[in-house]
């Protein structure tokens, strides 16, 4: 008996939600249960109307970015449980000891480089089994590079993302392009941030870096505009995002110099 009534109630609730029936229709459909059915349906409607303070729209957007960003970090760490635990253990042991940490990474790099995996991973594309290895190698190279070489390496790695986009287009793996672009945007944002927040004492150094980066960004924009014409509609927003981020960071670098031209002024 309970089963029959519960089924009728469920049927009515399912019909109420898309508006196929109203409470009155349900009651008329099952007159023998009308009193009990009516009361429970009215209660269910009140429950559904209960207001809930909505989430902050900005929070929703920022949380999404943070979560996807953490996904990159997880991906960089390889995605293997044992490897993660092992590296975390060593990381904790060496925390606060940068010299030891750099030394360890150098040793690991030598081991990995000599294993041949790195050669295989160099051409890996997002979604490939070896792609996390490629990213790990890139991150490690950044950590052990000196301050002078860091900027060049950063822009080279960002440019590598554009090459990856090009290769993905060639093999029609459009669904992965937005991931690569997201990583590209993070990389060039960090790059321009590191330049714009450099010590004001080193004007010449900042000038040189910003000019080099600005030139590279300009080339990237040219390449991306070419790619934009090749890709189907579904991949266009990702390419447009990369162009927009490149232009924005170029503008940011230009703002460092009052005459608007990195390089400290006209160079005829």
């Amino acid at each position: 008996m309970i089963d029959i009534f519960a089924t009728r109630l469920a049927e009515c609730l399912e019909a109420l939600q898309p508006g196929e029936l109203n409470v009155q229709d349900c009651i008329q459909k099952y007159p023998q249960d009308s009193e009990e059915l009516g009361k429970l349906l009215e209660l269910a409607i009140l429950l559904e109307k209960t207001p809930v303070q909505p989430p902050d729209e900005l929070f929703e957007k920022n949380a999404r970015a943070r979560i996807l960003n953490s996904s990159f970090e997880l991906q960089s760490s390889g995605g293997q449980n044992w490897l993660k635990s092992w590296l975390m253990g060593i990381g904790l042991f060496l925390s606060g000891r940068p010299v030891l940490r750099l030394g360890l990474i150098a040793v690991l790099l030598v081991l990995v480089l000599s294993s041949g995996v790195v050669f295989a991973s160099a051409k890996a594309m997002p979604g490939d089994f070896l792609y996390p290895v490629k990213i790990f190698i890139e991150d490690s190279r950044l950590m052990i590079s000196g301050e002078e070489k860091e900027t060049n390496l950063q822009i080279d790695l960002a440019t590598e993302r554009i090459k990856e986009v090009d290769r993905l287009i060639e093999v029609e793996r459009y669904e992965t392009i937005s991931d690569v672009v997201d990583r590209y945007v993070i990389q060039i944002d960090k790059l321009s941030e590191s330049i714009t927040s450099s010590s004001a004492d080193d004007i010449a150094g900042i000038d040189e870096k910003s000019e080099a980066v600005s030139d590279k960004l300009m080339k990237n924009i040219e390449v991306l505009e070419g790619l934009l014409e090749k890709v189907p509609e579904q991949a266009q927003p990702a390419i447009e995002k990369a162009i927009e981020a490149s232009s924005k960071n170029q503008d940011k670098l230009k703002e460092l110099f009052p005459d608007g031209k990195p390089g400290g002024g006209p160079k005829d």
Binding site: I2, D3, F5, A6, T7, L9, A10, L13, E14, K39, L40, E42, L43, A44, L46, L47, E48, K49, T50, P51, V52, Q53, P55, D56, F59, E60, A63, R64, R66, I67, L68, S70, S71, F72, L74, Q75, G79, N81, K84, P126, G127, Y131, P132, Y174, E175, T176, S178, D179, D182, Q234, P237, A238, K241
Partner: protein, 188 residues
């Protein structure tokens, strides 16, 4: 950007996330953020806490996708079970907040205003009434009527068949009506 994934099933998106396709997880986030937030908000009754816990659930789930070897056939159920466990942990550590445990103790002094009963429940008052039900009944009510899940979705999350869920739903609604009438001056 996530438009490429719109037609993909949850399981396909989980597999893509595992392969490192981050935007696939972005699609899962877009699919379930609001529903999950509503579920958690109703339990903690605080916007900021609900936002923080929602983010933590997505982060924990992402980490599990990456490091867990076994297949994940029911992402939504798994997401909400993670949320359920996290909310319970949250209650244990945040004793000062309104919780399922102490919410029932507070109900004696609370009455629903007549006009709200007629047109709309106040979410805090309703949470207090729901907190007096058994955990299974609470889960049915919150999933079905607060988060707006279907019978099929709710049965997956609770790990019960739909026939049993229909009976649970009926009993939960009936008991909630009795609590509201007895404790909160609710009139049919």
């Amino acid at each position: 950007m996530a438009s490429d994934h719109r037609n993909a099933t949850d399981t396909e998106l989980v597999n893509q996330t595992r392969k490192g396709i981050t935007s696939a997880y972005g699609e899962l986030y877009d699919r379930y953020f609001k529903q999950l937030y509503r579920y958690i908000y109703f339990r903690v009754q605080n916007q900021e806490e609900a936002e923080d816990l929602t983010e933590i659930v997505f982060l924990k789930t992402l980490e599990s996708i990456r490091y867990r070897r076994a297949a994940i056939d029911n992402f939504q159920g798994w997401l909400f079970r993670t949320a359920h466990n996290l909310v319970i942990d949250h209650y244990r550590t945040e004793r000062s907040q309104v919780s399922i445990e102490n919410i029932a103790e507070l109900r004696d002094s609370q009455k629903l205003p007549e006009k709200q009963v007629q047109h709309q429940f106040d979410s805090v008052e309703l949470a207090k009434a729901i907190a007096t039900l058994s955990p299974e009944f609470q889960q049915v009510i919150v999933c079905r009527f607060i988060s707006g899940m279907s019978h099929a979705e709710t049965s997956k999350i609770m790990g019960v068949n739909q026939g049993y869920l229909r009976v649970l739903q009926f009993r939960a609604l009936k008991q909630l009506r009795n609590v509201l009438k007895r404790e909160f001056d609710y009139h049919d």
